[in-house]
Symmetry: C5
Subunit: 353 residues, 5 copies
């Protein structure tokens, strides 16, 4: 689900490799500047056109750098804003665990955004990296087209909620919260899928059931791997002692932490449920096998002795006294009936009918 | 079991959405005021008629706000008593983990109340949110008709026990304790169900057994998810350092903590038991399959060779010397008998009879 | 195994309910007073005749109150010695987790005593509640006839060991130690049962095996639930900071702690063993099913084609040239022999013979 | 594997019971005295002849007391050297968890020595108890003939390594290290056994495989129970704050700790491996059952319809037109061939051939 | 996967045994000296030719000692640089847990390097031991030909990255990082293998699948055992308080720690996945068995009664009225058809067709 890139082992740290030439999309830049009363949106062409670092005019700036196709532009970005080379490496080597790392006067945050691809309805994971500097938030994504941040862009534009009243730390919180909250609809969908699966299994346990169940389990393994550390990440931010994260934002982060715990809780409950479903499936299959065997055994058990009796009187010995009895045939049928009834009684007593 | 509501990801925090228009019941208000000697019960029509906040007349006030159908009334309530917007959001977005959160001079408590629906005897989970302020407890529920608090209302009315002698903190404890203690009858009922199931499985492992077992397992997963954090919630209250919770109440909270641990203990024991029951079931089914196979194999094993012998002497070759022997038929029957006895001896030795 | 009583949810705390009228036995009182040189045993008729609280004459007093049939007497006892109402409630609501709770100048200890019922050789669990006050130990049990404390009574009477040299804290230790040590013979017995079961399973895995195994597992779940917290209880006493427990007694408590850990260790090992036994059983059954199938398949595999050949020459077509050959019958038998040998070779190569 | 003795529950603590008269071997005493330059070995006849306690002549004394058949001698030993009665009890009640307990000026250490019995190649567990006093180490074992300490005796005699240069604490370390290191060859042997078992299972999963596997699992459960606490024991010694254990010895203890962790690591890995092997076995058996069923089904599937056809034309109706056709027989054979080919094609398509 | 050597239990600590004579390769020495501007590479013939210890000329020296075939040379090395004898023992006794141990002024680091053998494409584990002294890093490996350090040698030679700018601690970091990062390609390869296996299992669950899966599981157990402690090792270095590890290097170590956590995460996810795959396999096999049984039962169920009917009319009784009916044969065929259709309807209703 997550693209994992890594440097060749032994490569010098902070080397920006791993993206094949022509692989990523060219970066699209976007700058949003806002304060309580103003709002401006720019689309610079190159890193050079981005606002100078360290501006202290009370405005919050959000720089989006979407697309990893141009490593040089990324390097330029890093140099312009003094981003730490090890952090830049983590941006390129996607598939990082969500984490928050403090470098001097900046906070580097990595999160894994999970959303349903609008085109083919598949779950997609994408790494979002953020640098939180005073009054400035830089976010870097791989896919320039898709993300889960549109409602936040809208909130900033319209000025709804707290976003224009608080600083860049609140913006970072808002993005993280959107990422975490995306877990709810995804898990709701999984939960409904599991319920359908359960009905299907109880009705008729087929091969597709188990393939679906395995799919859900794998998805939950991936989700768990993305969300567990997200909880720790938010917790780290909550207990961050730098001045980058203000006291008002921390109350919101506590809320985000709570959401992360709820999402994890759901993931764990669904894992428990899939385990229980698997056992349900196995039990249902072995119950069915048992039933099939029972039918086979009852049928064979009744007819095999009868067929044997018929076989005996089908033998061609010259001297078989029974064959000459006028009532022999009917006596034979009677014996067969008695045998069959005896068998039926036996199977009935065993509870196999 | 629990209705889970959440905001669309990316919505501004503290947005009171998630309830469809016309979904919830209109809120019913109820105020109980009591002190050691007085007791009064009011049914105000609107939030405006509720007692003013911050009254300091030694009385304890319990405001019930039951029904989430009118978000504006809820917002009005929040404004009147200075409830924190993030807490209000948690009230609307039901399905929260039980938790206790301190906001300045108020304590926000969320618990999940589980009770047997009187109508259809199904387990129902409902979120109860409480705000503990000095001398004031506000509780908010979704369903105005059903809850587990009637005995406490009765105790307050009659003045039985400690309720009228202690403050609003004791009232909050009493409600929490009622919620936690409701776990006992529910688990007792599950325990009895599991015992019946065990007898049924040992007698005859059918398909319904496993569906029932799966049901119990799912219920226990849900219960566990509701009760684990309840324990932590009570623990948090126990170690709360604000002045909202008095020393006398803490002794009672220790008792509630103990009850929560006992309930959890029972849940865990029953989980262990369901795991063991599943294995019992699987073993019983495979034992049954084994037995069925044994009967089939013994029957087939005995009659198949005999039928073959009968088949041989049923062939129509012109030159089959045995057929002409006068004693041929009887010799043939004798051979069959010997074969059958040999088989019986073989199966006996294998222990399959 | 343990009787679990609880108040109706919502009942005021410290309400002594849960025992049906006429359910419990009437309480039997017994007082033992001893010092280093004296020993006296009394059987008071009522709580009023019990020694006054707070006597400070250097003697240790052990008051036994056995039988929960008279709630009023229990209440009287509580009032006389200033026992905390919440503790009294825990006495009536049996099935408590073992625990030690400090109330001002008293220590309330609950333990679960497990012993083999002398009448029907069944494991029985019974709650023992103790109050440790300066120079005074009050114990309360439900069943007046049975307990595991006779050796300690004997030790006190005869003055063997340390019991008469140390205080009421040592007496409490001695009772706890007797409860914990009772785990050893019970687990030894389970261990032997499991060994027998293993032999039985390897010899012939029957349905009773699995029922027995399930029984052991359930017993171990119960034992575990009773013994885990007993360890913590002893540990709490070890680190108790009140003056109720003296330094000399703590050395003995360390020993009791060690015993509790050993008992837990055995319980956990036996749980591991039962899990392994279950797998042994399942493997044995599936191995047996496999063997049965093999026999069935080999037999059917050999005779079904032969019977078919016999069937072909049993057909009544007028024009079947083979039937007229003088050697046809023998050729046919020869072909059957070749087919049978071929099949045998095939099954031999498969390793099924 | 370990003999577990315990006092009757309720016995006074520090009672030396549990050994039947005539059960244990009579104790054999052995004293080794050494310093950097001297070495002496004595075999005293009785406890009275042992060196006086508290000698402070710079020599290290190692007193071995091997054999638990004479409780009085043990009691005498305890009195002579001031050993704590609770510790003496732990010596007699073998099957203790490995532990280190400080009593005033002595350190009491219990370890479980596991070795391969030279006679019948079985794993044997034996408890070794040690008292570490200044300049003096007393070790007590049950079996006077067998232990794992010969190399250490040899090192002391010859003066190899550090043993004669350091004190009694180093001697205790050396014994513990020998006990811990004995885990390596035992686990190596288990590891090889598991590898053989794996090959055997993949080749042909028989009943003996599973019995062997269960045996390994049980052994690992026992080993685990003996070795986990050994790690903690060494750790406790490492952090012991008394003067009994010197700084130089602690560096060696750190090494022993490391060894204990490695042994535990191996035990855990092998436990994982046995779990995986069990699954391998179950899969192999169910795969084999599947294969057997397939052969049975293909054979039955092909011949049962053919036999039916033969049966039809074996009927004796007077008016069966086909029988009179000259080519009827051959047409019938042809139909049978077509049916058989059809079946083969069907099974081929199913992938069952 | 890892060669595990250990001393005979009871051997004096710090004894360099365990390597059979002629077993290891003769050690190859290599010295690299570099500073910011200089770089020199030497291949001394013997330990005596190695640079003197304690040189303080600002250069970083990396001494490689590859090959454990000459214990005397190793001992000489230890004496020359004052390496602790217990550490030397750990070098010889390969199969250590990764760890970092401080000895006075040196830091001893053991890591387990895992790489794909270039010759036979098998995973190989090899122990790398390092001594970090001021300005000096000594590394010892067993196999002189293979390791994962070539890119680092190249970086030092060319002066790429930070390696020539920082001290010996950075060099140690670089080696550790190369070891840890080697986990990524190995796990990527396992991940792809597991995906292929999943497809294979869903298509056709054969015996090789399960053997492969078991292989992956065993590899993951080994990887886990090597990588878990590597994480702790890096963490220990991070929190090392000596002056051997500089502040700049610690930032890089934090990065290495992060990589170790990611590798562990992947290992755990793959373990989860293998567990899920095993269940998938078992379900698929039991589903297939079920299907096979169904075909067998349907076929037998239909033809066994028909064959019986044919058998009845194949009997040779003289007086069988039906046989004489002109339409008897056709009536009989009709009855057979009806029976067959009835059976088909029955199996259809059961859902077995």
């Amino acid at each position: 689900m997550f693209k994992t890139r890594y440097a060749l082992p032994g490569t010098a740290p902070a080397t920006l490799t791993g993206i094949e030439p022509g692989e990523g999309a060219p970066p699209q830049l976007r700058v949003v500047e806002y304060s309580r009363d103003t709002y401006e949106e720019l689309k610079p062409k190159s890193v050079a056109e981005l606002p100078a670092p360290g501006l202290d005019d009370g405005k919050v700036r959000w720089i989006e750098f979407n697309g990893l196709g141009d490593i040089d532009a990324l390097r330029e970005l890093g140099e312009k804003y003094g981003l730490h080379p090890l952090a830049l490496e983590d941006i390129v080597h996607t598939g990082q665990r969500p984490k928050a790392e403090a470098y001097d006067d900046q906070l580097f945050i990595v999160a894994q955004m999970i959303y349903r691809d609008p085109v083919d309805d598949r779950l997609v994971g994408e790494q979002v990296s953020m640098f939180l500097l005073p009054g400035l938030l830089i976010t870097i994504q791989e896919d320039p087209d898709c993300d889960v941040f549109d409602p936040i862009r809208e909130r900033a534009r319209v000025g709804r909620g707290y976003i224009r009243k608080l600083g860049a730390d609140y913006l970072a919180y808002a993005l993280l919260d959107a990422i975490i909250d995306h877990g709810f609809p995804i898990l709701e969908c999984i939960g409904e899928g599991l319920e359908d699966l359960e009905d299907e299994m109880l009705a008729k346990p087929t091969k597709t059931c188990i393939a679906k169940l395995h799919d859900y389990r794998r998805t939950l393994v991936h989700l768990r791997r993305a969300i567990w550390p997200e909880r720790d990440l938010v917790n780290n931010l909550l207990h961050d002692e730098s001045t980058l994260i203000g006291k008002e934002t921390k109350i919101f982060l506590r809320d985000a932490y709570d959401h992360a715990v709820r999402v994890m809780d759901l993931v764990e409950s669904y894992r428990d449920l899939t385990a229980s479903l698997l056992e349900l499936y196995l039990s249902a299959v072995s119950q069915r096998t048992n039933e099939i065997m029972r039918v086979l055994t009852v049928m064979s058990g009744i007819f095999i002795p009868l067929t044997f009796v018929a076989g005996v009187y089908g033998m061609n010995f010259e001297n078989m006294p029974e064959l000459k009895q006028p009532a022999g045939y009917f006596a034979c049928l009677g014996v067969m009936l008695i045998i069959a009834l005896g068998e039926l009684w036996f199977f009935k007593r065993k509870g196999w009918l």
